[in-house]
Symmetry: C2
Subunit: 341 residues, 2 copies
């Protein structure tokens, strides 16, 4: 739809901006014929017989999901990576992406170049084309939406609904770095060593979608999802959809060395780490018989996996401490459970 000129007068700058966008984004198709050089308002993706197409979309708003003055290349890379993380959690191989971007009127060519460069860098990293998109101007904050397409062998996609009582609960990587990383990025962890701050901020700004691991979980995992809202909340989502409960052993939850140090220094509670968002690690369940295969898979893919608990036949998600006592979440965090308790 064209912008309504009576609502937002077109300017010479706006025209130049769109020319700039065409110049910046067409190279990101990497010549994939499906993108038709972004000249046709649509992409044409050839059939992949025997595969399901997996589709996911995420919207991000400046000032809500990221800081308005975050570097544009990192905004673009995170936008892509959070969507790829969703595909990884489905066991899918990524195929391509479509971008819908509402850029504030004042956005400059330098900012757009940075954004396109970051997107291009990561599309190349993951071997993906930009298949299409739409760019518009907005009087409001930068608002981005990315649709990611992937594929899985028919019927083999991983879903949230596959957890069964008796399954074990696993996570990839380490938990809580994303939430700590936001604080690190905002320079709110002055007591932490510079390299720890850098590690955590990078974990927040540039998530590592577990593509290699995700696609190889097919046939091993029962249920899977990626952790974006926080381990406990997301495990709750998974259990609700699967009609089961879960128990997590707090001491088993893998933490990075910087997160352990922040916890030891009292800068953060374990509750903050278990409930913080932005991890983009995989959360999945599997029968006990799959444990050895999962451990071998972790070694093969370089993505560590850790068993953190069990699926129960009912109830909600509980987290228990070393003494076997169940912890309960209150609005402000966890009750009777703090670092150094």
């Amino acid at each position: 739809m064209p912008p309504d000129p009576s609502l937002s007068p077109a300017s010479a700058e706006a025209v130049d901006e769109f020319a700039l966008i065409a110049e910046l984004f067409v190279p990101l198709t990497h010549g994939d014929p499906a993108a038709r050089g972004l000249r046709d308002d649509a992409a044409f993706l050839p059939a992949a017989p025997g595969y399901d197409t997996v589709l996911t979309v995420d919207a991000l708003v400046a000032g809500v999901h990221f800081l308005p003055d975050d570097p544009p290349d990192l905004i673009a890379r995170k936008l892509l990576r959070v969507n790829l993380s969703d595909l990884a959690a489905k066991g899918a191989e990524p195929v391509g992406v479509l971008l819908a971007a509402a850029f504030p009127r004042g956005v400059g060519a330098g900012w757009l170049r940075g954004f396109a460069a970051g997107l291009g860098q990561d599309l190349a990293t993951f071997g993906l084309p930009l298949l299409g998109g739409d760019t518009v101007a907005t009087p409001g904050p930068l608002t981005l939406s990315l649709t990611a397409l992937g594929r899985v062998p028919a019927g083999q996609g991983l879903e949230r609904r596959g957890a069964r009582p008796g399954d074990q609960v696993w996570v990839s990587g380490t938990i809580g770095d994303g939430a700590l990383g936001l604080r690190a990025a905002r320079r709110e962890l002055p007591g932490l060593a510079a390299e720890d701050v850098a590690f955590l901020a990078d974990r927040y700004r540039v998530p590592q979608p577990r593509m290699g691991l995700g696609s190889r979980l097919r046939g091993l995992a029962g249920a899977a999802m990626d952790i974006s809202d926080g381990l406990v909340q997301d495990l709750g989502h998974l259990c609700r959809v699967s009609g089961v409960g879960a128990r997590v052993e707090a001491a088993r939850v893998p933490l990075s060395p910087p997160a352990r140090r922040a916890l030891a220094e009292g800068m953060v509670t374990l509750a903050d780490l278990l409930c913080g968002g932005d991890d983009y690690e995989l959360l999945f369940t599997a029968p006990p018989a799959a444990a050895a295969a999962l451990t071998a898979l972790a070694a093969a893919t370089g993505a560590p996996v850790t068993r953190i608990g069990s699926i129960l036949s009912g109830g909600a998600v509980s987290v228990i401490d070393d003494g076997g006592e169940a912890l309960s979440l209150s609005k402000g965090g966890w009750r009777h459970f703090r670092a150094e308790d």
Copy 2:
């Protein structure tokens, strides 16, 4: 990605809002298993061997692409229809849609219900499921992005690049109603009869994507696109991509009776109609030998088609008047060509 609580404190209302959205949007999946009940952050679309998947995305911003106080059901319906119009122009059958919506914090349950009702009504009209999406809060204006999926038999999709010298240029329906309709919706055409105002406003608010016609143009049309930016501009896009020029005979361009009356009354220039946006009619080219089949197709589908000009081997797009004189576009509209000239 979760909203960053330090950037935008979550409120009880926000939580209720998301529950409401789940309640409102899940029914729009129409039980299509591909949507997984919107509970899985992803859709799983079965393979369609022998078909290309056609993908298109459009972003709309309140105050830019529609009036902020437009009825929510009509905003939703137009969002869907402009995307379906893109699919029709590719000769595709629609399969489903994904919605990314950034709702202003103050949006109420009534507004959301209206939006979902309008979307649901039109998804039902076109027999489509909502396959997935993402809803977030924004401190800015309502910002919507819809990804539409369609399919065409492999290699048979219509594209902009297929125009050849000697082809005839055709349009469906009537041209210029959208641009006039915006003015009608804003009550800027007081001299026009009430039923004309209503007709035009409806043409602007609820475009009629030419689904039946589009899919049956496969094999007949050379190049095709939908008219969203204005007939002349969009024909320019088509010609540029195809490496050709075009000549349009102004007198042949089909106008609706209300548009003819507005033109006769001097409320609008022909230039306004030929360059105005929001028509969502199909613009296509075909060899002269296809003319009889196209006329028969129009009768069969109830979508009138009109031949308005010819594709030339080079040059830009020209529009000629009855005397054969070429008109040229200036910034403010057409030079030396006004209604009643």
